[in-house]
């Protein structure tokens, strides 16, 4: 299945504005994000040393924000869009 990954601001400069990831069916958001880049510096941007997503990062699935549990356990479907937000600084 194909998942679109979009990112903004600081993350856009690291991961690009939009990428398509081909992956097995039933993958979770966390699994798909782990396929986004292989270099250590890039992975360290998203994941802590013990492999969990950094708590200050927000992930949305088709526009809806995911809780930490949901990023690990949700099953994605073909055509889903994940968005990665760095900490916000508007206003």
């Amino acid at each position: 299945m194909r998942i679109t990954i979009r990112s903004f601001a600081r993350f856009r400069e690291i991961f690009g504005t939009e990428k398509l990831i081909e992956t097995d069916s039933f993958a979770s958001p966390k699994t798909v994000l782990s396929l986004l880049c292989k270099e250590k510096e890039c992975r360290d941007t998203l994941f802590t040393p013990d492999g969990t997503l950094h708590p200050h990062i927000t992930i949305t699935l088709n526009g809806r924000r995911l809780s930490t549990g949901e990023t690990d356990e949700t099953t994605l479907a073909d055509g889903d869009t994940l968005v990665i937000y760095p900490p916000v600084s508007g206003g």
Binding site: R12, P86, V88, S89, G90, G91
Partner: protein, 130 residues
């Protein structure tokens, strides 16, 4: 009116449009680009989600603080020092609700609405805010 836009904001016109005769108070927050050694700020937004979030925040502020009207306009793109970033207008019967509602809105925007800023210095260096 809820909007994210590149264009500058006509604050006087917005205050006038927002007003009706049930109001006794309009509390307005204007965010501006402050010169703390920078030349400009580049704002980037996830416009679709940000608009949805601002609409939610406006409804919550109206419900919690008994507002009569809410306007939120946030700019994106490159803004020079001294320019308007953001205008919030909370219209209410009395001043207490207006102040509380306006404050609620800006705090919620800062907490989670997907908008980011990158400082641009005179030398051309740039740095995203954490």
């Amino acid at each position: 009116m809820i909007s994210i836009q590149k264009d500058d904001i006509d604050i006087g016109a917005l205050i006038q449009q927002s007003r009706n005769t049930h109001m006794g108070a309009q509390v307005v927050f204007v965010g501006t680009v402050r010169d703390d050694g920078i030349e400009a700020i580049e704002f980037e937004a996830d416009r679709t989600t940000a608009i949805a979030d601002l609409t939610t925040i406006a409804a919550e502020a109206t419900e919690k603080h008994g507002l009569i009207s809410v306007d939120i306009i946030h700019r994106d793109g490159l803004l020079q020092t001294g320019e308007t970033i953001l205008v919030i207008i909370a219209g209410s019967a009395h001043r207490e609700e207006g102040f509380a509602g306006c404050r609620y809105i800006i705090e919620e925007i800062k907490r989670y609405v997907p908008i980011w800023k990158k400082d641009i210095t005179a030398s051309g260096d740039s740095r995203w805010h954490d």
